[in-house]
Symmetry: none
Subunit: 192 residues, 4 copies
DNA sequence: AGATAATCGAGACGGTACGTCTTGTCTTAGT
DNA sequence: ACTAAGACAAGACGTACCGTCTCGATTATCT
């Protein structure tokens, strides 16, 4: 009968070094090449790790990406939602900074890559909202507005956030011209 | 003297038969295998057409898919938006039928496939809204509601629609449990 | 009134211009790219002629090449065999000039290309000897030597020539170092 | 302590099984289809091996063929040169058996295929003489004849052999009628 | 003058094979 | 035990030519 606590199993332990190298390499390549052109072999080479080491711990490319997403290797810092008391102005400001972020050179295609990854993997899909910084910042702000009576008490916050982010995502997929007032219009579509 | 306009160039003319076979095959395979597992070789084989014939007229897999999308080979019939005078009830009904549509066996992953295609191709991205039947049916209904005074006159209709569909898309990507009231909550998030 | 014999058939007549363009293009491409890399499409493009025009008059690549060979489009001028009375010296001199000819830059691979063509086509095979200028010049010289009593009367001239040229061809296929006395050794192997 | 010389590198070792399968398949296909119709894809399929495995170890079709040639996968057993003391009769007998060999059904085109391969590859060219069994058997017999005083002491043996085989090769390329005394005439051209 | 028949260019067509790339599994040696 | 290296079977990629075919224009002969 094994000891109740952690009977450290035999053999060498998983190399934390390798794990970090893989996730770091994934982040770097994701940023430079996008999700589609990411390859397991490329990650292994960039990380200085063997393919088998990746396959041993992750089941697929998207699993690696999902992990890298969790560990914040994939994205630049998310903008935070300001809180001036004016929920509409705050959301517009936040949406604008989100748009500015992905409009920066180098960040081109970042949303597309994330969405492509989400299409492949339920894991990433689930975390897509989080990845765009929503739960942590937007939901909180919305709930504050609800509490302040600026928004109806029965507002389905999660769906509200999804609609907001979804609108942004669809806009990104269209690669349309950067209409200057898109942030304002998008927020106004929800807050009328 | 020949007709003024087309100075018909020399050489054999493009085979309409081949064009149709390719788009048809694309539609069939897209439905059964999804966008990711679609291959040019597979389409060529299914269509009874040579690869070169595909590459001669389309530049990539996504270009073929975009064309098939235009020609309505990819999607089952879109639900139409009812018009009972109650904009909220109508949108909920429409959203519910959309959800039911993609919940049907065989249509699983259809939205994911479409979005994946949109990630690869600006063309498809642009048409994604149309593909989901929006411009044709939803926008019209929204505008009617605006005209009827049920929605503010300055509502940015396009963004409203994008938010609605975007919310639906993000929900689909999450593959979450089929919450029964999701249609209602999504619409209520926008119409509060 | 037309010539009595030829019941000139109806329709346009074969374009001599096209025929010449094809053979000329064949010669040019054969010289620069070798037989293997010669393509019908390449010849058609170089000649400014449609593929069908080639296929209408020639059955295959090798048929075109055979024709070009006959019309002397493929080869630089063949060296002639001198006649000083000394058959051995004459053959060595001729062989040496043959070796020098194919050693010139640009003529590299010419023999290989010819032999490759001969491997594909009986026609070209038959004419390979002729192509290397043998029948016309060497045989005559040999026969003169036979007549002069320098070579046995029952010498099988054709086989003698074949052995001489065959030795040269095998030497060319080996791409060995250009041994300076190879011409002399080759002739001495036959005239001992 | 490892052996001084080969510091065995890491990773899986080359599969001898695959190597043999490839050369065997090459031999089989070469015999049935000839060099021209040999394809890498065909070899891979016949050998039950992936194309990449072939491209990893050989640079081209001709390299595979050259290897198969070395390993004697391509040719039936070469006739040996008899030694009755009569060099002329022996050579005629050998040449006749060579001619008979390639005249057998199934061996048709074997010489042409070999020569075609030699045209493409210096390697094969170099080994073409060996492939026809010359160095091993003919040269030895010739040298014996030289030693016995039947042939001049300064005879360039290599060139003599090349002329003999070259004559045979040119004869084969011509696909002429099987003259019954061709072996005798060819040898007499050299031994007069 | 028309009809007929063969030419020519251009180029689309279904195919085969190329050589490269990636995937996911496996084997071997080093730590 | 776990890693790095790398070979392996499978199969898609996009390209190059193959040989056949269709198109419209042109040219020549026959009625």
């Amino acid at each position: 009968m094994p000891a109740s606590a952690g009977v450290r199993r035999r053999g060498a332990v998983r190399s934390e070094e390798a794990r970090i190298a893989v996730l770091g390499a994934t982040g770097r390549l994701f940023a430079t090449q996008g999700y589609d052109h990411l390859t397991i072999e490329g990650i292994a080479a960039e990380a200085g790790v063997s393919k088998q080491t990746i396959y041993r711990w992750w089941s697929s490319k998207s699993a690696v990406v999902a992990d890298a997403l969790i560990e914040d290797k994939l994205l630049p810092d998310h903008p935070v939602v300001p809180d001036t008391g004016d929920i509409r102005a705050d959301l517009i400001a936040w949406m604008q900074s989100l748009i500015d972020l992905v409009a920066q050179p180098g960040n081109d295609g970042l949303v597309r890559s994330l969405v492509a990854a989400a299409c492949e993997s339920p894991d990433i899909g689930t975390r897509l909202n989080d990845a765009l910084g929503i739960t942590a910042t937007v939901s909180t702000r919305i709930e504050a507005a609800v509490a302040a009576g600026q928004l109806p008490a029965d507002l389905p916050v999660m769906e509200f956030v999804r609609a907001l982010v979804g609108g942004f995502v669809l806009h990104s997929l269209e690669r349309s011209e950067p209409a200057p007032d898109i942030a304002e219009r998008l927020v106004r579509a929800l807050l009328h």
